[in-house]
Each structure stands twice: as C-alpha cells, then as structure tokens.
C-alpha cells in the first residue's frame, strides 16, 4: 500500500516534512514502516520524528502479521494513548501525535539524539550516571517496562533528559504483569541466566514484575556502562566473562568509572542480576569522587549553582565531581560541557554564570596550557559578564602560558582597545 504522508498529515500541524530513507531497526529493515522528520507547528515548534507503521494486508506472512496486523496496530494505538496520558511520569519520549487509520498507525514523537550516536562519538561519559537516574524503573514507582532497552533505543532530549524511544516496546503494568505483544529484544546483550528466565515467561505471552524489573535493570545498567566503556563488542553469543574482559581491555584501566563498571559487569554476568539502579548510581558517583578527592584544591561545586534552576535548565550536574584532578584534561573538560551548552542556550542565570566562570578559572589554573578553557573563560567574561578589566587580566595570564597563540594575541589587542574605550567612556 502506498502511503502519502504529505497528504495524510495536516499541513497546519506539521512543517518541513522530510521522508527518511534509512533508519536502523527491524521496522525499517522489513519495510514495515515509513520514517520522516518534521517540525511540529503546535507545542512551540518542536522537531519531531515520525514513524508510520503500514498495516499489513491479511495475506501477509505470519511474522508481518504479528507485528503490523490491523488488530495489533489497534491494540498498539490504545496502549500508546494510555502511555501518552501518563506524560512525563514515565521515561518515554514525548508522543506528540498518534493516529490510527485503515492504512496504518502514525506515531509522532519529539526528536532526540540517539545514545548510540553519542557513544560512537565518545561523548557519552557524563551520561553514565544520568541514564541510571533517568531510566530507573524504581525511581517513581513501578508500572512501566521497555522490552528492548539498548543505546539505539535511548535518546537524549534537548533538555538533556534521557528517555526511551522505540515506543512500541514500552508497556504499562497490568495486574503485576506485562503483556508483551511482540517479544523483540537483544538476548546477546544479556547473560544466559537472564535470557532463560525471560524466555520461559515469554512462553505464556506475559512476564511478571520481578523478571521484568531484573531484565530492565540489566539492560539500563549495560547501556550506562557503554557510556564509559564504549560500544560493547558483539559476538552474537550471550554476555559472559570473556566478552566483558575483551570489552574492558580497550578502556583506560586507571579511570575509576572503568574500574567500577568492570567489577560490576563481571559480578552481574555471573549472577545475571544488577543491584537496584539507585544503589549502582550512588556507588558509581562515590567511586569517581573518592578517586578524585586526594588531588588538587577543591573546585566550586557545580551542583551548588542553584540546583533548582539548573535542574529546570536540564543541565547535567550529577556526574560533576566536587574536585577535579590535575591530569586527564579531556575528561574534566567533558564534565564541563553541559555547562558550555547551557550557557549558549541561555539557560544560566547571572549568578550561575559567575559561578561557572569561577569553575573555569580553577580549571584554567590546573590546565593553563589548554586554549579551550581560556577561550571559554574569555567568552564568559566578554560576552556575558562584559568585564573588560577582568578579561584583560585573564588574557594576559593566558598568554603567559600560551605565548605563541595568535588568537589570544588578537583577543588581547581587542580587549585592550575595549578597556580603553570603557575607561574613557566612564570619565
């Protein structure tokens, strides 16, 4: 059946509709769904990702009918409507629009950055604890389950909140159980003991709360580990000790987060159980902190920059340590990156900007040869604080450490001129 999304979507509700040819996943591989990007005109104009699952004809094969039959799509529509009503109380991407017609099921959701992409770029380190926090099924009461949690199915919203995508795999609890309509998941991301426990229950078409919770914890923790260790090597076999060893072998053995995840993963593949995610997160934060504390002078705590506005601004604060070591510049810079983004997005208050500058000053005192930290400092002082005297002092200090930087010399000249004008202007 040919589906014309342009004709189907109300042109007053959606703009810039672009049909996507290739997206990862079973639906695309089997040509069961069309994918598109668009701008949602309602709700402030959010970028949206649209999935249209084409209804299978009655003559289709068994597998196709299982996933895309009219009846299944109707059930899915009902389920997604219930999930939509739960809003932000469940960690699923915002469902902007859901329409069920004879030709299929349209699901429009807020666009996210897939965690897989962030991990592949090596920029997910700071998300490890965030995933454990945002996707913790025990955090806000039980009642939800995602049957296929993996970095492809976790997304980062523009406000830095982690949410689950692949919404067809999201279920709400009914009488202590989850009715799994399409049991599609990745058993090679689980140890044999867990796979057996899940498969036994799937025989009944439903899994109970305890097995669901165990599976969910394992999959979320594994994704959090990938943020630190990088992508898990795929062998097609169930997760076991040799796979963990091979995976960790490529990571920095001196990094406390690497050490932490190695220990936890080795224990978890033996028992097929991860502890509650809150406990895991607290121990991870503690491991990073205790490792870092002995070195250097204490920095201003970013988490103290006014927790409420920063939470509202979606700034990641949980993984930021209270002290930063003298080495490992890149890792420390990565930890500051959420603030870099928050600054540019205009999400910091005046007080937070000053505190952010103080953090940068201390970072600069530890890593004075890094041009990035000086550039960021100067940006804050010039563009946000508008303080020529401080800017001049900083650029002079920067040039003492990086005397050959043409960029810094150019900046100093501009700042000197600005400071002179300011002095003359004030008299």
């Amino acid at each position: 059946m040919k589906v014309d999304l342009h004709a189907m979507l109300p042109a007053g509700e959606w703009a810039n509709l672009q049909i996507l040819n290739q997206t990862p996943g079973m639906m695309a591989d089997k040509n069961w769904a069309l994918f598109a990007k668009a701008k949602r005109i309602r709700d402030g104009g959010k970028a949206a990702f649209i999935k249209f699952i084409v209804a299978a004809s009655p003559q289709a094969g068994d597998t196709t009918l299982l996933v895309t039959s009219g009846d299944r799509l109707k059930d899915l529509y009902e389920r997604l409507k219930h999930i939509q009503q739960r809003g932000a109380t469940v960690p699923i991407v915002s469902l902007l629009d859901i329409q069920h017609t004879e030709s299929g099921l349209l699901i429009a959701m807020e666009e996210v950055t897939p965690l897989r992409d962030i991990i592949d770029r090596g920029e997910a380190y700071h998300l490890s604890t965030k995933i454990l926090r945002d996707l913790d099924p025990d955090a806000d009461g039980n009642g939800w389950h995602h049957f296929d949690v993996c970095p492809n199915n976790i997304g980062l919203l523009p406000n830095e909140r982690c949410v689950l995508i692949d919404v067809e795999s999201f279920y709400l609890e009914a009488e202590g159980k989850y009715n799994i309509s399409v049991p599609a998941w990745k058993p090679f991301r689980a140890p044999r003991g867990l796979v057996v426990a899940v498969q036994v229950q799937l025989g009944t078409g439903r899994i109970d709360r305890s097995v669901a919770s165990r599976k969910l914890r394992f999959e979320v923790a594994l994704a959090a580990a990938e943020c630190v260790l990088g992508p898990i090597p795929l062998t097609g076999q169930n997760l076991d000790r040799p796979i963990i060893d091979a995976w960790v072998a490529n990571a920095d053995a001196t990094d406390p987060a690497v050490v932490f995840w190695k220990q936890e993963l080795l224990a978890a593949v033996e028992t097929a159980i991860f502890p509650p995610l809150q406990e895991l997160r607290e121990r991870l934060e503690s491991a990073i902190k205790s490792e870092l504390e002995p070195t250097g002078a204490p920095l201003v705590q970013l988490s103290s920059l006014g927790s409420e506005p920063l939470e509202a601004a979606g700034v990641v604060t949980s993984v930021l340590p209270s002290v930063l070591p003298q080495s490992e510049w890149f890792k420390e810079w990565t930890l500051v990156l959420p603030m870099v983004h928050a600054l540019r997005a205009g999400r910091l208050t005046g007080k937070q900007i000053i505190e952010y500058r103080q953090v940068l000053q201390q970072l600069a005192s530890r890593h004075p040869s890094q041009p990035d930290v000086w550039n960021e400092l100067l940006l804050v002082v010039i563009s946000f604080e508008k303080n020529p005297a401080l800017a001049l002092s900083l650029v002079t200090e920067a040039l003492q450490h990086i005397p050959d930087s043409d960029e810094l010399i150019r900046m100093r000249n501009i700042i000197q001129k600005w400071a002179r004008e300011r002095r003359h202007g004030s008299h």
Binding site: H6, P10, A11, G12, A15, I41, R42, G45, G87, A88
Partner: protein, 311 residues
C-alpha cells in the same frame, strides 16, 4: 509536574490564517480568510479583522524584504481580549510575491500581572505561525488547498501559549504596563500596520508623527523611557474611581484597573464635536486622498529607480 502546571497557567489562543491563491471563504483567489472557514467561529476582535480594507495595506508590505515584513507587529485590545497580528512573505503558484497573515486572539484579564508575558507569547505565536505557514503555502500546493477546503488543515484553532518562547523584540511587560495607564488605547503597532486599528505606534516619535499624517495616532511607546508618550488629547489617564459604599457590578473592578478601550469595539473614546464632524470627515478624506497619491507616486518611483539602475 511543575513544568506542566506552568504551561497550563497560560490561556489558549485561537488563530486565524489569511492568504491568497485558494478559494476558501470567498469565491476568488484574492486575499481572504482560510481559517476558520466558518465565520460564526469568530468573536470580538477576531471579527474586526474581517472589516479591514486590505488593498493599500498589502500594497505597502509587498516592497518590503521578508525580514521587514516579519518585523511588523500589531496588537489590538479591547476590554476582554487581545489580538496579535503578523504577516510573512510567500509566493503564489506562479511564483509571484504573496502574503500570509496570521492572528491569535487571547482572552485577557487586565488585572493579571502576567499580561505582559501573555502578550509576548501571543506575539511570538502569531509571528511563528506566519513564518511557518508562509513556507507551507508557498506555491499554493494542491494538498494544502484540499485540506483547507476540507477543513482538515488544522485539528484545532486553539494553541497553548504555555509552550511558546516569549517574543523579545519589544519589552512587552513595559508596553502593557504603559497601556494600562491610559484610557482610549485601541492597540499598539509598527507604523505600517496602524490601519488595522491601533492608535499607538511601536516606534520612535519621528515615526509616530509621520504616521499621524495618514492614520489616527494618539501616541507612541518610547522604548527608552518605557512609557507611552501622548500625541493627542484623545487619551486620558485612568483616574482612580471613588469607592462607592455598595459597588455596582460594573464598578467591582479595582480602582485602577483599566480596559483601555472603554467604548464599543475598536473605537476610540474620543469623538469630534457634532458641529465639526463633517469638517473633520472632509479633512480626513482629503488627507487619505493625498496619502494615496503620495503612496502611488512613491511606488512608481521605487519601481522605476531600480530599472534605471539596471540600465
């Protein structure tokens, strides 16, 4: 949940969409209302827009660049609503320049301390929709015309202001604060959109005095002093009302809580004295005629000058 509550604290806005190239509310392809299709859905200030004579207004916008058109703003007021009007440039199916107009009307309470924020969001919404729909209507796509005719272009005309990023091109909190001081304000507008019914210029004194030659202008919002500077005697400061022992229903409003337009819809409170009314009328007609002549002459000059440059 807190964020959700914040969103729900804002009123809803109902939008209108106008354009040319489709036959929706009129049996021609001239500039007309696309949304709502049914005029019975219109209320208050929404209805006022239906009576505008569009020709000269649209003509004045065509020579402008896209950004200049998008920069035109007009907010009309009455006792219970505000209406923000925005334009954007687009093209018809023959790739000729065309214009899209969007409005959004919001029910307001003049005592609401958040009125400036509400106005900023209403302006942001009408402006954002004008730009978005200018793209949607560009070239008059057939499927868009079909949806407009079948009334399936929008699922609802009602938009949530809580999701909008407030417009920052004007300090709306200060603008509204200034508006509430004066009795007789029908709206505030950039000079080119004054003919929609506003009598306060959102611009400089020079622009206001210049606009006064063509439209009824009673003042301008001075961005430096963040106040309205009055240019006529038609605006009166709201006086605190004496507190009666048993307030009537009409007087239950607090002593200083204005609704800028105190007379019927869109009309200023001031009326010329009956003896001089016909003189004023004649003078206004004369002024309008001269303005039209000047406008035509200016247009001709603007069209001829680039030709000369090309040669």
């Amino acid at each position: 949940m807190e964020a959700i509550n914040r969103i729900d604290n804002y009123p809803k806005a109902d939008v209108q969409l106008w354009g040319k190239g489709y036959r929706i509310s009129a049996d021609s392809e001239e500039f007309q209302r696309y949304l709502p299709k049914d005029p019975a859905e219109l209320k208050g200030l929404d209805r006022k827009i239906q009576t505008i004579s569009w020709g000269s207004l649209l003509e004045s916008l065509y020579p402008l660049r896209e950004a200049e058109v998008a920069g035109q703003q007009c907010v009309l007021f009455d006792a219970s609503d505000l209406l923000s009007v925005s334009f954007a440039k687009t093209e018809d199916r023959h790739r000729r320049p065309s214009l899209v107009l969007t409005t959004c009307i919001v029910a307001i309470d003049w005592r609401n301390p958040q009125l400036g924020e509400i106005t900023a969001r209403a302006v942001a919404l009408s402006s954002r929709l004008a730009t978005a729909y200018a793209d949607t209507l560009r070239g008059n796509p057939e499927n868009v015309g079909k949806q407009l005719r079948e009334n399936s272009f929008l699922t609802s005309r009602s938009f949530n202001l809580g999701e909008e990023q407030p417009d920052r091109t004007a300090e709306w909190a200060h603008v509204i604060s200034a508006v509430t001081k004066w009795n007789g304000i029908t709206g505030i507008s950039t000079p080119r959109l004054l003919s929609l019914g506003a009598n306060i210029v959102l611009g400089t004194k020079y622009e206001a005095e210049r606009a006064k030659q063509q439209s009824q202008v009673d003042g301008f919002f001075d961005a430096r002093d963040r106040d309205i500077k009055v240019l006529s005697d038609r605006l009166k400061l709201w006086e605190p009302r004496p507190q009666p022992s048993t307030p009537t229903r009409e007087e239950e409003r607090p002593a200083h809580s204005p609704s800028p337009v105190s007379s019927s819809l869109g009309e200023p409170t001031y009326q010329p004295s009956p003896e001089l009314y016909w003189v004023a009328e004649c003078l206004q007609q004369l002024t309008n005629s001269v303005d039209r002549l000047v406008g035509v002459a200016t247009d001709i000059l603007e069209r001829v000058t680039p030709e000369k440059r090309k040669r």
